[in-house]
């Protein structure tokens, strides 16, 4: 009836406007759900609409086309809603086409066909009819009535060069973006944080000797070596250092393991040994005497012990 039709048209226009306003106010999550409700293939994936499923896994689904070009015409689609190919991540896309390869193989054996076509349509001009991305797998036989007309148009060299330049630039940029996205951040090197100050002893000595020498220095602190240049031996040790080392090591009555470092002969060892022993014994006696004196405490370090009698005498003198 003519009266009802304009009313219906008005209703649809109002509905369209209302829908447009709704879509503008929707969040991306709500938009996705709205798309899923509108998309018949999402309904098929959800199981709400009947279909003939051939293969299904976590990420993709394969069904028979209701309007087939040939028996066995299948649609391979991702379970997630993507409209066009550039939106699909590489891993999912490669999986879809691996499934397509397996299906082509299955169709060859099951239906005794002689070939297959895989077609993807991106955009309405390319023949895309549904909003959900899918790949068509069409099994082919000779004289099956299907004709895909791909004309052959020869192009001039100038045009070919121009087009190849545009495409190679665009592809180079795309693959650079992919490389940057895949690049792993480089860890900061230790040098950037600042090197810790190195505290080194002036001479390189083995660990055991160093400990002993350190202990010896504590007992008998020696004045700092100011003039190293003249006193340097072949090894690079100062004469003073090598003498102290020799004394401390040989006083124990044993030959140093690193005699070769100290550049000392066996004969000289004996000489220094005697000297070393005698000097050490004297020192030992002196310390023992100090310890034996009553009322006086043995002092650590090398400071001379305080003589209270002397101090008393001094005080007495002042008076």
């Amino acid at each position: 009836m003519p009266e009802q039709q304009p009313q219906q048209q008005q209703m649809t226009e109002e509905q369209v406007k209302a829908l447009q306003e709704k879509i503008k106010n929707m969040s991306p999550e709500e938009l996705k759900e709205f798309q899923k409700k509108q998309c018949i293939f999402c309904q098929i994936i959800a199981g709400k609409v009947h279909s003939r499923k051939i293969y299904e896994d976590d990420t993709s689904l394969v069904i028979l086309d209701v309007n087939p070009a040939n028996p066995g015409h299948m649609l391979i689609m991702p379970k997630e809603h993507y409209s066009i190919m550039p939106q699909i991540p590489d891993s999912q896309l490669s999986h879809i086409f691996s499934v397509a390869k397996a299906l082509s193989n299955a169709a060859l054996r099951a239906l005794e066909t002689q070939g297959s076509n895989i077609i993807v349509a991106n955009g309405v001009a390319a023949g895309q009819k549904a909003q959900h991305f899918m790949a068509h797998l069409i099994p082919r036989m000779g004289n099956d009535g299907i004709k895909f007309e791909l004309p052959q148009k020869t192009l001039a060299e100038d045009e070919l060069k121009k087009i190849s330049g545009i495409l190679s630039k665009a592809l180079g940029a795309k693959f650079e973006e992919k490389r940057k996205a895949a690049a792993v951040p480089i860890l900061p090197q230790k040098k950037e944080l600042g090197e810790a100050p190195k505290e080194r002893l002036p001479e390189k000595l083995p660990l055991e000797n160093k400990k002993f020498i350190a202990a010896e220095f504590k007992r008998n602190p020696t004045p700092p070596v100011t003039d190293l240049g003249s006193g340097k031996s072949k090894n690079g040790f100062s004469r003073f250092a090598s003498q102290t080392i020799a004394r401390s090591l040989h006083s124990l009555g044993r030959i140093s393991k690193n005699a070769h470092i100290l550049n000392m002969d066996h004969a000289s060892n004996h000489q220094s040994k005697n000297d070393g022993i005698s000097a050490f014994k004297e020192k030992k006696k002196a310390t023992e005497k100090e310890k034996q004196i009553p009322g006086k405490k043995a002092q650590k370090g090398g400071n001379p012990p305080i003589n209270l009698d002397d101090i008393a005498n001094l005080l007495g003198k002042d008076d």
């Binding site: 691996s98 082919r140 630039k169």
Partner: protein
């Protein structure tokens, strides 16, 4: 080295024995312009190894080829400002395969450009549909397609830094020992 065949024209392109307008190249694949294409900008993507049909292409290489095809398709769409693209694979002579080397065609599309990739649907009865469904299901049961997480994609780029190993490890230990001396 890629497995090539002297009789195959596409393998000659891979080996640079024949001139071509290459648009992209890496270790596994080449994308080049078709001289006698259906539309200006018609590209094909080929594996460097010689595979006649899709069933012989390994999954890893196939996935890489289609990811390159995806990039070429979007580059054509943006660079040449067309209205759509078709991804077309002809597998077998009845399907229109002219060269015995697997290739993926990316065809730029505009309205009324004279290319017909449409088909008239065939009427099939419910019985015929269900027999086809059963046959295909039987043959797919033996096939196990790996999930996208488990697959190893061919690594063409992405450099990782070498792990940092201190050269002064021994000396540091030595110095620490010395510092412990009271």
């Amino acid at each position: 080295m890629a497995k090539t065949r002297e009789s195959c024209l596409i393998c000659q392109i891979v080996a640079n024995n024949v001139p071509s307008y290459k648009v992209y190249e890496d270790e596994i694949s080449i994308a080049a312009l078709d001289f006698n294409g259906a539309n200006p900008g018609h590209c094909f993507i080929i594996p460097k190894n010689h595979y006649p049909i899709i069933e012989q292409v390994p999954d890893g290489e196939l996935g890489h080829l289609f990811s390159v095809a995806n990039k070429v398709s979007s580059a054509i769409f943006e660079g040449l400002k067309v209205q759509g693209t078709n991804v077309f694979v002809a597998n077998g002579i009845p399907a229109g395969q002219t060269v015995a080397h697997f290739m993926i065609n990316i065809i730029p599309r505009k309205e009324n450009d004279g290319i017909n990739l449409q088909w008239s649907p065939k009427q099939m009865s419910e019985e015929e549909m269900s027999t086809v469904e059963l046959k295909l299901k039987e043959n797919m049961q033996g096939m196990a397609v790996e999930s996208p997480e488990k697959k190893e994609m061919p690594k063409v780029h992405a450099e990782r830094p070498k792990p940092f190993i201190s050269d002064e490890g021994e000396e540091d230990y030595f110095m620490n020992q010395l510092r412990r001396i009271p």
